[in-house]
Symmetry: C2
Subunit: 299 residues, 2 copies
Amino acid sequence: MSKQAARPEPSWQIHVEQVETALQRYVAPQDDCPPRLQEAMAYSLLAGGKRLRPVLALLACEACGGKAEAALPAACALEMVHTYSLIHDDLPAMDDDDLRRGRPTSHVVFGEAMAILAGDGLLTLAFEILARDICPGDTAAACCADLASAAGYCGMVGGQVADLEAGQQSVPNLETLERIHERKTGRLLRSALTMGGRIGGADAQLLDALDEYGRCVGLAFQIADDLLDVTGSEQQLGKAVGKDAGQGKLTYPSLLGIEDSRDRARELIERACQCLTVFEDERARPLKSLAQFVLERDH
Amino acid sequence: MSKQAARPEPSWQIHVEQVETALQRYVAPQDDCPPRLQEAMAYSLLAGGKRLRPVLALLACEACGGKAEAALPAACALEMVHTYSLIHDDLPAMDDDDLRRGRPTSHVVFGEAMAILAGDGLLTLAFEILARDICPGDTAAACCADLASAAGYCGMVGGQVADLEAGQQSVPNLETLERIHERKTGRLLRSALTMGGRIGGADAQLLDALDEYGRCVGLAFQIADDLLDVTGSEQQLGKAVGKDAGQGKLTYPSLLGIEDSRDRARELIERACQCLTVFEDERARPLKSLAQFVLERDH
């Protein structure tokens, strides 16, 4: 498949724009919010990015027969949780990164205290939006539970701790690596699919299919990310490259080599696409294109 | 009223024990959670403390005719959010405190990265518990919205930012001080009352009464805290005293003096007790005792 064919198709670009508009509305200035805090939250949330998780939520909703608009609060909540995790991961006490999405990181611009609080604010706002703006209440509660479980101590936060601890480990292996990624990035991405599915009215079979699709795409996405750290340029990525290898971090290319990493990603994307056979063909087509895009992206 | 009369009554002590047991269960070791993260979360969450917010939630539920057990998930969620805020506030980048509840703070024991993540984990777990364990789904969603709004950028997180910024302000005044406390501690305390009330089946009138009771008790609690910083001993409080004044922090005693601060707290507690007249006498009695306790406590 050529790179050209893997570019976002028009329908998907519309979803990105819907998400951008909704995100701007959600972090607009508020009377009760200190202006500097609002600025810090908006600075990181509105810094662009692929909006992969929000788009997945919207497409999953549509694949189940729902309207994308109904899943917009979930889409925005996912991006807020993703953004908060980046702000906190970039802190000096953690990965100590100065550059993110081509711009200075939050703590560089706003100071450490404000960066911590902007992250806290975004995480909390994610749940406020889900609980208040998803209908009916049962679905809102189920989405809150999905997101919290995915983002929490047995999910994303646990994965970040495991990742920090793995740096000190003497014998790295594929099992450890995949377990870290399952939690650090995989669980959140899977929750994008299940939340979108719930809002679209998915039954248990469709939810399972979306969950497994999400698991495969999430791992493939991480492999692609690791590969880009080795093969991409700083300009394409908007962040420092070669840093993982330089820090002796556990990555797919360092464990499997570049070619085997590519093969593993390809297998995962094939499996993801197989999961979609339970959906009506036309409805799941955008999810299939997106899976291919993950494999072929160069930024 | 003598101090003896303000001691917790037996029924209320039972609520504290219910909360302790439930908290222990919620942060027990989990297969998918890195052990050190679970330790850090449990270390701060199970460090004792008055459990004021959880008890308020349980008592509000009972005042409306519900069973305390039904509100236990909300009670635990409140304590998790309170604890996360303490962990993050104590960080070197924020208030830089080494001692909390008589023990070294989280970042002193576990390091800064783990303290940030333990806080993130507790905040997220709070919403997981609420969303999953409160029935029915509508009430769960309403509680998630209450808690998130109270804890978020227009509530507690915003209050912490305003507090940090107020330290740099040249002309402190009572209005600024009360606006900070409304958000930093008041909103969360009020949400304890409204969540408990919702779970107990409160109608709009009872919810309003509980909210106003919570507002008054919250401010009175903060005044009492400021007074204890001036008049208490380090041994009684389990943390450094005189620190607020030493840092030139905005407090009630520094603005109003000790006697006027005591008067203001007394007025607020009277108003809180007046709010309870809409309840059946016997059911709201524990909330009345608790309000008195806030005024008279010495630790």
